[in-house]
């Protein structure tokens, strides 16, 4: 009985470990190759062990291949923007739907959630058109023709997505987890709604806000499709995912001229992936709670 139990444990750990290593293999392989010279890479086997830690690829990248520092700054700016503005609208919206009683509340709530039923593509093509044909922007005339509007400009990266139905729902759920007594006590003392939100709810929503900050940071660090559509032609406003992908794609496209420097390209991939992975390793609890919060409660 005891041996059977022991064998069972061994089996479970074996499967989890083999599966886990298989999942990590492509990333670990790329990480190992990123420490290789091209000569070393041409001899690589399925188990890539760099003979010494060659850092040349990393130096080459950090010395400013492409515009990596500018792209990193652009991305951090967008992360801050997309935490502060949608954070504010979602917390306020969540409060309204969780705590206030007024006619039509459920109707408005369903109206706001209805966007979640549709795939993003239904919004993206017309949003592109709308930004491109924005009146009096980027050379456009009064009816929005003649120029390129906000396309390839910063506003195209900052205007969409400021009201986020997911997070309104998420914060509504978070408000339900807080007893209403605090608010009632503060009302008796004469506090206004905005004082209550700022002084009572904001601190108590801490964990929910942390989940939102983390998920928005990862989502925007990895954001590729919309920037590719909206600002693909202007490298000065690119975020990291688009810029790094473009470095990898452009060097890869010229095999006739000479084989691309693959260890360098994999270094680019590793540097682009590192921040979300590190964030996850340090804050695993919030990730798991967040995924489960969106899933099960939602």
């Amino acid at each position: 009985m005891k041996t059977q139990r022991y064998l069972q444990r061994l089996f479970i750990h074996g499967v989890l470990l083999v599966g886990g290593v298989a999942m990590m293999y492509p990333l670990l392989f790329a990480l190992a190759v990123s420490f290789m010279t091209e000569a070393e890479y041409s001899q690589v086997s399925w188990l890539p062990l760099p003979r010494h830690l060659y850092l040349g690829n990393y130096f080459q990248l950090f010395a400013g291949a492409g515009n990596i520092w500018l792209w990193a700054f652009n991305t951090l700016f967008r992360i801050a923007w997309y935490i502060i503005v949608p954070g504010a609208t979602s917390i306020l919206g969540g409060y309204v739907f969780a705590r206030l009683r007024f006619r039509g509340r459920n109707l408005v709530f369903i109206f706001l959630l209805s966007a979640l039923l549709l795939p993003g593509i239904v919004f993206q093509v017309p949003s592109y058109v709308m930004l491109a044909r924005w009146p009096l922007a980027g050379g456009n005339n009064l009816i929005g023709l003649g120029g390129s509007g906000f396309i390839n400009e910063w506003p195209a990266l900052l205007i969409p997505g400021l009201v986020n139905s997911y997070y309104i729902f998420f914060f509504r759920q978070s408000f339900y987890a807080i007893p209403i007594d605090y608010e009632e006590a503060a009302r008796v003392d004469g506090a206004t709604t905005f004082q209550i939100l700022r002084l009572i709810y904001l601190p108590m929503l801490g964990p929910a806000i942390a989940v939102m900050v983390i998920f928005q940071s990862v989502a925007l660090w990895n954001d590729y499709v919309w920037p590719w559509i909206a600002v693909g032609g202007n490298p000065n406003v690119w975020p990291v995912a688009l810029g790094f992908q473009q470095i990898m794609a452009s060097s890869y496209k010229v095999p006739g001229v000479g084989i691309a420097n693959y260890p360098f390209l994999l270094t680019v991939a590793m540097v682009a992936s590192m921040p979300p992975v590190l964030l996850f390793l340090f804050l695993q609890r919030y990730f798991v709670e967040g995924v489960q919060g969106f899933g099960i409660k939602g």
């Binding site: 479970i12 690589v44 609208t89 919206g93 706001l112 239904v122 093509v125 709308m130 590729y224 794609a249």
Partner: protein, 311 residues
């Protein structure tokens, strides 16, 4: 819910059960609309208007740049019945359904193992979840470097081990397999974490009771775990199908839809209709078809699951 308990419900429950006993406060109404007005204006401009514009454009012919849209009847929709569009819709279905099936089975299996109170839970979970939080675009581009024909990682390893190299890009079989494996690799961690949460939510006393009744491990799984996880499973299947249908970066960056449209998918075609072919009418009709397919799929899934419940 009776009105006696309504005082307690106010704390935790969102919905009034009947408006007759519901008290609307003028103060609340004012605050609510002060907050909601700007939110709703923004939402109407950037969510409702685009959906209406998309529907409108799907009946128009327009290059998106010069002039104004011209009425085009149903032509944009009719086009979806002629090559290459049926193939593209079929490919999208194949990718979404294959990935969903394998992901649900694999994710559930791994969650079951992780739920056996194993030591090192966080360590194993990390290894499965890390691919999920990397950027799809960067990882897809990395895969296309892996399978680059000459000097790419896989062929390099193959030739160093004395094996013949493979030109993956010309084979529909390999390109499909690679795209499915890539989607699985990026998605299975999230599915596993959701199943694990569902499993951890099952009360351990239920298993104790089942053991007392003499149920073995398999019977516990069949008659206790799986029925109790039905809402979780439904959620996972629906979100996986919705996500799987919207596969894009993997195809764009790994196979570019090739060879000969054998891996082309709806989103890639919609984007190339709009931004490469400057045909916003066809692109919009594609987006509408996609939305209808996804709504249909979710409704069918929810119906199927609730019919089983009724049995």
């Amino acid at each position: 819910m009776t009105r006696f308990s309504s005082g307690k419900r106010r704390v935790n429950s969102p919905l009034p059960s009947g408006s007759s006993q519901w008290h609307y406060s003028r103060e609340h109404t004012r605050t609510a609309w002060i907050i909601l007005t700007p939110i709703l204006i923004y939402y109407i401009i950037f969510a409702i208007f685009p959906v209406l514009a998309n529907t409108y454009l799907s009946f128009m012919k327009w290059n998106g740049i010069t002039g104004l849209p011209v009425w085009n009847g149903l032509d944009n929709y009719v086009r979806y019945f002629y090559p290459p569009y049926p193939q593209i819709i079929l490919n999208t279905f194949i990718f979404a359904l294959t990935t969903m099936f394998i992901q649900v089975i694999l994710g559930f299996g791994m969650a079951l193992l992780l739920n056996q109170k194993v030591r090192g839970l966080g360590f194993y979970r990390s290894m499965w979840y890390i691919p999920t939080i990397t950027s799809t675009a960067i990882m897809a581009q990395m895969v296309s470097i892996f399978i680059s024909p000459y000097g790419g990682v896989v062929n390099n390893v193959l030739s160093n081990m004395g094996m013949p190299i493979v030109i993956w890009q010309t084979s529909p079989f390999w390109m499909r397999l690679i795209i499915i494996l890539f989607s699985l690799w990026r998605g299975v961690g999230g599915t596993m974490v959701l199943f694990l949460a569902g499993l951890q939510g099952i009360h351990p006393e239920l298993y104790d009771a089942a053991k007392v009744d003499g149920a073995n491990g398999w019977q516990q799984l069949r008659y206790l775990t799986i029925p109790l996880l039905k809402p979780t499973t439904l959620f996972i299947i629906v979100t996986n199908i919705i996500g799987g249908f919207q596969i894009f970066e993997a195809v764009q960056l790994i196979s570019k839809g090739g060879p000969f449209n054998q891996t082309n998918v709806m989103l890639l075609q919609i984007y190339s209709d709009a931004f490469t072919n400057s045909d916003f009418g066809t692109a919009s009709s594609g987006a509408t078809i996609m939305a209808l397919l996804l709504l249909g799929a979710s409704i069918v899934m929810i119906r199927l699951m609730s019919q089983e419940d009724a049995k």
